[in-house]
Symmetry: C2
Subunit: 279 residues, 2 copies
């Protein structure tokens, strides 16, 4: 590849996708850690949530999204959804010709680094917990670890309703987290991209001795290393007039924008609705 | 049409659809009130919920489902989902060549009959409340009525998590219902098919003076009248060996069956997964 071709390739955006708005917490970290990179974000707001759906459906939806992202000439893809990372990443890796990473491995690695008593907890959707993937990955790399997963299906609707600091969220979190406190974990993975929004509630209930791991941070870091290894880093921040970040959704762009603007410091000018079922 | 053709037509099933499991409360009422009728039920479990999605998306999904039901040779269609009734029914009526009814008109009529002080409340999803359709329909038929709608987005996840009798549901219901109590409504429409499951919680908070209207009952009654008018009633209960009720979903049949069996007295032997995006 000649130098000019290589530069054109490096200037391509990174594709980031999620079942909805949660993946914006990952996009936010990429914006922070990789300020030179352009991003094409897709949120599947027409079919959200994924966390209570089956492996087959999650794979089908993820395949359609990856096909859409490829039409956007992305140079790499980040699966910014734990449920999709849990079920679809291994399948997608075999089918896609650009580097693709998920959020699970990064989160698992950070938890392995953080734990001192080898007791690691994972809170996530039913799909992610049901897949057993955090458990499998942690055990592979740290066989002595004991991993306890807990599905927290009400956290996503509570976050989406904005009850980030609320007695109801405290009560529900208390119920979900009791088992994890009882077994004495010292590290807890926030295994769903919505959960960083209720980090302070979870932290308060778990207590200051428990380290909370947010895979978003680690995923952005892994992306940085990956782009460097593959020679795909963008060498400079795109000039004025270049659209740095583009947002696509499968439903209700205005609602998405409102939520996005509450998460991102960068204001989203617009999000575009596409028909994802066509891909 | 000759007599034999007419009988064959009458023996066809009624199509009933919902975004997921909620419409089973309507199917249950049809089973009770119209025991001779066969039913083909479709629950869009891959794309549930509809209640927080846009008009365009709800119409698109509903059209696909109607096309699927037509492949099942249904003689009539019941839109057993308030959000789909609110946004898609008027569009579908123009496109479909079999009689089609929703749950909104039935519920509105029952509320008009029940109210004494002309103050009617409606609790429903964001989509249904946002459409303003209960308000519009009630005012058309009873201009003196004051209608207050309240979106209750957390009720569906609370019902789906089984918290039908729970302090958290009490707390959330208390917040949602305060306004309705304050304005002194005497009639409250349960404008989402999930809500009959928390009827006792809502009833306790509203107090015994407030009549709760469940459109499921009225919808089954309206279907009965419609089939009679059109000469489409099944004259006899299908014989042994005929499959009376068939269930289709777009995702995770086993999970659907489990929930269905907790709602229906009739045990669901099986539900079949279809790819609804193909229709």
């Amino acid at each position: 590849m000649c130098e000019r071709e290589q530069e054109a390739l490096c200037n391509r955006p990174v594709g980031v996708f999620d079942s909805g708005v949660g993946g914006l917490t990952v996009a936010r970290e990429i914006m922070r850690q990789l300020p030179n990179e352009r991003i094409v974000y897709f949120g599947d707001t027409a079919r959200v949530p994924y966390g209570n759906k089956s492996r087959e459906t999650i794979i089908k939806f993820s395949r359609q999204i990856v096909r859409f992202l490829q039409t956007q000439q992305v140079k790499a893809i980040v699966v910014a959804c734990n449920s999709a990372s849990a079920y679809a990443l291994e399948v997608l890796e075999k089918e896609v010709d650009v580097p693709i990473i998920g959020v699970i491995k990064s989160g698992a690695r950070a938890a392995i680094d953080a734990t001192k008593n080898d007791k690691i907890g994972v809170i996530a959707t039913e799909a992610t917990i049901g897949s057993g993937i955090y458990n499998r990955y942690i055990k592979e790399h740290h066989p002595d670890a004991a991993v306890l997963g807990k599905a927290c299906p009400l956290f996503v609707p509570l976050v989406e309703e904005g009850l980030w600091e609320d007695p109801v969220t405290d009560e529900i979190a208390g119920r979900y987290l009791t088992e994890l406190i009882d077994v004495g974990i010292d590290t807890l993975i926030l295994g769903c991209t919505h959960y960083p929004m209720i980090r302070s509630t979870v932290g308060r209930i778990m207590g200051p001795e428990v380290t909370l791991v947010n895979p978003a941070y680690e995923t952005a870091h892994e992306l940085k290393q990956l782009l460097r290894e593959k020679g795909l880093e963008s060498g400079h921040r795109p000039g004025l007039g270049t659209e740095l970040y583009r947002f696509f959704v499968s439903d209700a762009a205005d609602k998405f924008q409102k939520f996005a603007n509450s998460i991102l410091t960068y204001g989203i000018l617009s999000a575009k609705v596409i028909n994802i079922e066509e891909f």
